[in-house]
Amino acid sequence: MDTPLVSIQAVHKRFGDLEVLRGVSLDVARGEVICIIGPSGSGKSTLLRCVNALVRPESGRITVAGIDVTAAKLDPIALRRRVGMVFQQYNLFPHRTALQNVMMAPVSVLKQDKREVEARARALMAKVRLQGKEGAYPGELSGGQQQRVAIARSLCMQPDVMLFDEVTAALDPETVKEVLVTIRDLAEEGMTCLLVTHEMGFARDLADHVYFTDRGVIVEHAPPAEFFGNPKDARTREFLGQVL
C-alpha cells in the first residue's frame, strides 16, 4: 500500500486537566473519505484541528502529504495550502463578497496571478451551484449558501485534503442536502476528505471508513456496511441506538 496521505499516530492532547485526545491513530489514503462520529466532547473537532495545526498536540505524530505537522518548526503556510478546512459556523469574511472570499487567500497568501485565481474562483462558484451570487456579501446569503461559499473558498487553495467539521450542524434540514450534495460531488471526484458528521445516512453512503470516538480514543472503526450493520463495541451500539 502507498504511504497514507494523512497519517495520525498516537496523538495526545490535553487542555489543562482535561485529556481530550488519549492516543488516537488513523491513516487516510489519497482519495479516501473517512467519517468520524461520536458523542459531543469526545474530541472530534480537536482531532481535525490537530491535522491543520490549529491545535498542537503534546505527543504523537501527524503527517500530511509528507509534511510533518507535529514538527517543532512547522511552516504553517506550506501545510495549509495542502489542507482545506470547513467549519460548522462557515466563518466567511463578512466584509468581502462571496467571490472575494474565495479569491483572497490564493491571491494574497499564495501570491498567485489574480486573473487565474478569478477564473478558478468563478468555476468553483459554479461548481457549488452559486452562479450569480459572486457579488453577494455573506450577510445576504442563506446558511447553506454561505457554507458552499466556504467550501469553494477552501477548494480555491487547491488542497490535497479537505477537513469538514460538522458543516451541516448549523443548517436547517432542507439546506443540509444542498451542502451534502456539494461534498458528495467532491468525494466522487477523488478529493480526500475527513468529515466529522452527525449525518449517519451520509456517512453510510459516502465513507470508505467510519471511526467512532469516545472520550478521546477511537473505540471502533470499520467500513460503513460493517460499522452500521454489525457494530462490535457496546459503546458504539449504544451511540448508534441513540442517533439512528
Binding site: 504553517p76 503556510i77 495549509r80 459556523q89 469574511f93 483572497m104 494574497s108 456579501y137 445576504e140 446569503l141
Partner: protein, 245 residues
Amino acid sequence: MAEFFRELRTTTGLNFTIFYDPFDARRFGYAFLMTCKLSVLSVVLSLIIGVAGAFAQGARFAPLRWVVAGYIAFFRNTPPLVQMYFFFFALGAITPTVPDDIGMEVPMVSSFTWALVALSLFAGAFNVEIFRSGIEAVPRSTVEAAESLGYSRLGAYRAVVLPLAFRVCLPSLNNNLVNLVKTTTLAYAIGVPEMLYVANQIWSDSLNVTEMMNVLLLLYIGLVTLLVWIMHRWERALRMPGYGT
C-alpha cells in the same frame, strides 16, 4: 470684501482685521493652515500608533505588551498640556541645537514637531484602546478561518481583523479624533503659531477679542464638521450589506 469689513467697523465697531488688513489676513491664514496641518498629521500618526499598538498588544512576546500597556497608562492618565510641556521643555532641553542661516543656535526639533509628537502620542494611546475593543469584537473563529487559509498573524490582522475591527470602533474613533482636532489648540502653550496663538496676537494688537473669538469658534466648528463628514462617508463606504442597517 475688504471694503465691506472696513465699512462694518466704522458703522458697527465690529473689527475683523483679518478681513481687511493684509498683515493680519496673512498671519491668520498661515495659522489656519498650521492648525489644519497639525490636525491632519496628528490624526494620521495617532491612527498609525493605534493600529500598531493594538497589534503589539496581541503579541506573544510579553515585554512588548508591557511597553504598550505602560505607554497607554502614561498618556491616558496625565493631562495633555503637561505632556506637551514635558516634550517641549524636558526633552527639548536635551536635544541638540543647530545654527540657522543667521548663525543663531536653534533647536533641531521645532516646537511644531514637539506638538505633533505629543498630540499623536496622546490621541494614539486612546486609539490603541479603541482598536483593541474593535479587535476583541472579531470572533476567534473568523481569525481561525483566515489562519486555516494560510494567513500569518500579521496577514490575518491586515486582511480580516483590522477591517472588521474598524467597522466596530468607528463611532468611538470618531469621538477621539474630534477631540484631537480640538486639542491641537494646546500647541499654543509651546508657541506653535496655530489659530489660537495667532488670534491671541491679533486681539492683543487690535483689541478685538469678541470678533476673533467668534471667528475661532466658527472655524473649529467647520473643521470638526468636515472631519465628522469624512468619517461618516468612510463609515458608509465600509458598510457590510446584510449586517446591521
